[in-house]
């Protein structure tokens, strides 16, 4: 049976620079967790309910809901700075 050697059709993938996650929290007690709504249209109700349910279930934790400025694909450096200064964790809600 004939055998063939062919060109690999794939492009060159760059080396991966792995970035570690931030260390996790030992406990949520006394902590502040931001819930960031990326603002896909009309998702605000969902993130409000998420905040309220988490607050009901974990009364020792402060959950702050914030809406990111600009369209959903843009960064919001001011908000990232605020979370870095005041928050202990973040839940990013990316929705359709």
């Amino acid at each position: 049976m004939n055998k063939y050697t062919v060109l690999n059709p794939q492009g060159h993938r760059a080396p991966i620079q792995h970035s570690p996650l931030a260390p996790r929290l030992d406990s949520l007690d006394g902590k502040t967790i931001y819930i960031v709504d990326m603002r896909w249209p009309y998702t605000e109700q969902f993130t409000k309910e998420l905040r309220d349910i988490l607050a009901e279930k974990y009364p020792g934790t402060t959950f702050i809901r914030r809406e990111k400025a600009g369209p959903y694909g843009e960064a919001d450096p001011e908000l990232w700075k605020e979370i870095g200064n005041r928050g202990d964790g973040i839940i990013m809600a990316i929705g359709h």
């Binding site: 055998k3 620079q17 369209p71």
Partner: protein, 416 residues
């Protein structure tokens, strides 16, 4: 999950889509329900994501080198075909195996060195760079002749993937202008948009294979999330403009955007779908065009547009109606196609993009937010968002429109 492919792990919790426009009760049901992928309660998953210590993979900070062999095999034809299917290096139509000899023959279609880096493309979550030889390998797979290669190299150099990862199921339209179209036998006449011509068919298919293999994308639920996909992805509406039958005074599309008539270029458009003039009733053709131009998403911070694909008969009818140039048609449609702000702000993507920019003070959106709802604005932001293309074999005064707007036009001659 797959952001791990580019080195940044993410702890993902899934919720049933969509979450947009849900009632309060439905939102609460969703939040109190299960992650549809993992089958566990969403709340527990969220808390776990915040508190479970990192695993070894999540702690990595090293650099991971990746190398792929240039050659595959030797092996049997069946085994290599199966390998390409298993690795999703194909569009699942039969391929021509890119043997060294076939790729060498394909490379006769360009004066460029096989090792020359052509560019970079990202269809999914990471970019690839690629060489002339790798583009040629994909051209062989698609069934190309060597003389098609400059067009395919121009498509690859553009860096514009024909298939992208979005959940929105985007499509593309690919239009070739200039002498190359005739030289390689592209169809711009009867049946130009149907599978009836090798060059049209193969160049469109090559754009798909490039997206898959050189853009590292188009794998469902991994690098592609278009919920329904898009039927235009099969060929990306690839055709040549019928320059031979343009009315006098009507420039070829590539000339309209700055190329010389004796240069060749390939233009790539972004959109979703097409429809046709049978949905219109107006007696004057230009009025029917205005009717059709009122259908796509109004343009704004999220760019929209429309392209008309006119049979040469229709182009000549428009000349008879007083439009001596493509630009005069385009400008008239732009001026006549209006929308009220009341209607404008109701569009989903206007809400997601233009309103957000308005809130940041970006004009004209900020001004529009202060104006009354009955204020009329142009549906398109510029006449340039309206493209006029002539294609067809003069068997009917038929035309179609698609919500295609130009991404860019790229020189083919540079790749000869």
């Amino acid at each position: 999950m797959y952001s791990g492919l580019v080195g940044m792990p993410v702890r993902l919790i899934n919720v049933p889509f969509p979450i947009s426009r849900l009632s309060r009760d439905r939102c609460r049901d969703v939040v109190n329900g299960n992650d549809p992928v993992k089958g566990r309660p969403i709340i527990e998953e969220l808390i776990s994501a915040l508190t479970t210590p990192l695993n070894e993979g999540e702690k990595r900070s090293d650099i991971e080198e990746r190398t792929e062999p240039r050659l595959i095999g030797p092996d049997t034809e069946d085994n290599i075909n199966q390998l390409f299917i298993d690795n999703i290096w194909t569009d699942f139509l039969p391929i021509v195996l890119p043997t060294e000899k076939r790729v060498e023959e394909m490379l006769k279609g360009t004066s460029h060195d096989p090792d020359e880096v052509v560019g970079e493309m990202r269809s999914g979550y990471e970019s690839c760079t690629f060489t002339v030889e790798q583009v040629a390998a994909n051209a062989v797979m698609a069934g190309a002749k060597p003389e098609y290669l400059p067009v395919i190299l121009a498509l690859a150099e553009s860096g514009v993937p024909a298939i992208t990862t979005s959940t929105q199921s985007f499509g593309r339209m690919i239009v070739v202008n200039g002498p190359i179209a005739k030289q390689i036998g592209m169809n711009s006449g009867t049946g130009a948009l149907s599978p009836m011509n090798r060059a049209n068919a193969v160049i469109g298919r090559a754009a798909t294979l490039i997206s898959i293999n050189l853009g590292a994308g188009a794998v469902p639920n991994r690098t592609y999330y278009g919920s329904q996909g898009n039927i235009t992805d099969y060929n990306h509406v690839t055709f040549a403009e019928n320059e031979a039958f343009l009315p006098e005074g009507w420039d070829p599309f590539h000339v309209q955007i700055g190329f010389e008539a004796d240069e060749s270029a390939v233009s790539i458009f972004h959109g979703y779908t097409m429809w046709h003039w049978k949905d219109t009733f107006e007696r004057r053709k230009v009025d029917a065009l205005i009717n059709m131009a009122g259908r796509p998403l109004p343009s704004g911070a999220y760019k929209s547009g429309i392209s008309f694909l006119l049979d040469p008969i229709v182009a000549n009818d428009l000349v008879e109606e007083g439009f001596a140039t493509k630009e005069s048609v385009r400008d008239h449609i732009y001026e006549q196609c209006l929308i009220s702000l009341d209607e404008y702000w109701q569009y989903h993507l206007v809400e997601g993009f233009s309103r957000r920019m308005a809130e940041k003070g970006v004009e004209p959106y900020a001004l529009w937010l202060t104006q009354s709802g009955d204020t009329m604005i142009n549906r398109y932001r510029s006449p340039d968002e309206i493209s006029i293309l002539v294609v067809g074999g003069r068997t009917n005064d038929f035309w179609q429109a698609g919500d295609w707007h130009l991404i860019g036009s790229f020189s083919v001659d540079e790749w000869g």
